[in-house]
Symmetry: C2
């Protein structure tokens, strides 16, 4: 009997997660012999737990096509981590109960480390309960911190946004430094991994006078004295200094430079304020005029400056997820395998969820210059292809034509 | 005898001020019979005061063409306001001395209110001293606060950036509000005028559930209770709330919401921190999860998302400035005159500098909804055409191909 498919978005959304969603839906439609209806979770996995499913088949075809160029999470995403099987077996059983009630045999979970863990557990438990569900993880994270894949869809576009923004802001600061701002700080995302901050390094070629003159990575312990010396020396040489700072920048003892003290649903510290903290330091210790920008959600939703390579890969992992499922694979995640830097070439591979779940890939040492403030040639070779190509959305009257889906509910079958 | 021309950029740079510069240079080259060499001031007016002139004729033709798509100030700009004639006559005399030494008969000053004042005074004094210099002001300001012109080059592109960013961030927040951020604040520029904040209103159509649900203008006294009530009501209705806040938002007594306490060279209060101030208020009083972005320089340097209308107008005022000069006009500024909203039509007019100088045009009352938190249909009719068209720069390897000029110095003739 044909089984239905369930797709859910998880965690922080990206400029291209909907491109993945669109590809999953299209590919499932091409396998009507194997896959029945396609449902999506309203607000991610919560939609499954609450039996609040969206009937994707009731959307207009043009709307589904427009997912390829629409940022955010079209069905709603959630920061909701299922606990361990022992701690909260009831929640997994509820998931499986809802899947059974709607004849769902395929679970596509589009997220980061936590989501791969959930998908893996659902696969295991459903087998044990005698109603095996094919669980495929689909990589998505701007943080680029998933292991076993060369890079993660969502990262290339945020990398392009950060590189372009760093370049543009630097041209601004450089042209006004004589009488105005000397130090500009761009605060970017990346709680535990410096991939996004590293992408700012693409704004220049790393030589003297090229922006950004300083990058602060979570992977390098913040040394206040070395930092201030570097800022002072840069301003003496170039008259201005552009700094890209990761929100995850921290001291040697592990404390974040700016810890707002609050925690999100996953128990992660909620960060913010590195930009203002550094600006204050520069003003207080060096007396230099500063400005700072905090890109925050703008960086991960900036579909208007998405990378074509990123969009292509986001769609490719979506397609591959469905192809793996119909080929009988289970508890795997399609990966991106790089086969060549120049010319850049990649293909889709796969990794078992058990090996992906709950592991983080931080920036390797060989990607960071010895002084800790820049990126190496190896980092450039890795990062550069990921920001290539401009995947512009269509516009009308000056604004991108992003789609909002109707998201009609599937009638409930359970209490 | 043929006179040389001097062009200088002043104040905060924009995504399109170089497009104006390029048009000035091209148009001057088409009037070789009247205009000799074209010089630019290194770091704006300081280049004249210090006799640090740039020989624009020594740049490659391709570089000059690339000015049309390059943000920042290609010759350097300055925040440097000449004082009143009585207070600092020596500075004006020095300007005129340098102009005479280099046979400069045309002064093109590309800036905001302060610069129009300077250009006006140079025109007056040079006549009185018997060496009349043709002084043409060229409008430029992201703040859109110059009088007598329908809008200012630089504004349309920042307006487009803010509208697109607000839309994109709203799609992000909306898709995650169930378990994550409820309130998102985007802090934008606009010290005394709410034009940029108003542009954020274009992200939605103003109806319920459309972003931004709240805009804070400098023109509307901030009422903390009304603001918090509106946030609370919005979150109850939509589950999320996007706020666009002008850096110039202030209380009824005139105090800015966030006054960093420092002042720039023009004596203006240096602002920053409205975003974090509001976020803290929302957290403290309503207990809602928030995020905030500070666009800062990113918004005014974002040439990658420039408005085509803005680029066209930036070039048009540059061309017109030179045409006015060779036609014998003096102490005037080319303006943009709107002749029709739908279809949008505009033409170049002109205004005497005496009437432009030191006046600010704030957002009219009829552009702000009665509750003070949104923009009216009249505002939309005004703003919408200004963000039309995507004037994408060329790219190479994923980054815009912005030009850096050689900026070779003209040999000094004075001590």
């Amino acid at each position: 009997m044909k089984k239905n498919a369930f797709y859910a978005q998880s965690g922080g959304v990206t400029a291209v997660i909907n491109a993945t969603a669109g590809a999953v839906i299209e590919t499932a439609r091409r396998h009507r012999d194997r896959i029945g209806r396609v449902y999506a979770g309203r607000n991610g996995i919560l939609g499954a737990l609450e039996e609040d499913l969206i009937d994707v088949g009731r959307e207009r075809a043009a709307s589904l096509r427009a997912l390829a160029h629409t940022p955010g999470g079209a069905f709603g995403s959630a920061r909701y981590k299922l606990k361990g099987l022992e701690e909260n077996r009831a929640e997994y059983e509820r998931l499986i109960e809802v899947f059974e009630a709607h004849n769902i045999g395929y679970f596509f979970y589009n997220g980061g480390n936590d989501s791969m863990d959930t998908a893996h557990k659902v696969s295991q438990l459903s087998s044990r309960l005698g109603h095996p569900i094919t669980c495929i993880g689909i990589p998505k994270t701007v943080d680029n911190d998933l292991p076993l894949t060369d890079n993660c869809p969502g990262f290339g576009s945020v990398a392009k946004y950060v590189a372009v923004s760093t370049l543009e802001a630097a041209m601004d600061v450089r042209s006004m430094s004589r009488t105005s701002t000397k130090v500009f700080i761009l605060e970017v995302m990346g709680r535990h991994a410096g991939w996004i901050a590293a992408a700012g390094g693409l704004a220049g070629d790393g030589s003297a006078g090229q922006p950004p003159q300083i990058i602060l990575f979570p992977e390098v312990a913040f040394d206040e004295r070395a930092f201030l010396e570097r800022v002072e020396r840069t301003v003496a040489r170039d008259d201005w200094c552009v700094i890209v700072a990761s929100e995850g920048a921290r001291y040697a003892d592990g404390r974040f430079l700016a810890d707002a003290g609050t925690r999100d649903a996953f128990g992660h510290v909620q960060l913010g304020g590195v930009g203002s903290m550094l600006a204050d330091l520069v003003r207080r210790e060096l007396g230099l005029k500063y400005h700072y920008a905090i890109a925050d959600y703008l960086q991960r939703s900036a579909r208007h400056i998405a990378s074509q390579v990123d969009v292509d890969q986001a769609r490719a992992v979506g397609r591959a997820a469905v192809e793996l499922a119909v080929a009988g694979e289970n508890a795997v995640m399609p990966t991106i395998e790089r086969t060549s830097d120049r010319p850049y070439r990649w293909r889709i591979g796969r990794a078992p969820l058990a090996r992906v779940a709950n592991r983080e890939k931080t920036l390797p040492k060989r990607f960071i210059t010895r002084d800790g403030f820049g990126i190496t040639a190896a980092a450039r070779r890795y990062l550069q292809p990921l920001i290539r190509g401009e995947a512009y959305p269509p516009y009308r009257d000056g604004l991108p034509r992003y789609v909002t889906l109707e998201n009609r509910a599937v009638p409930k079958r359970l209490g």
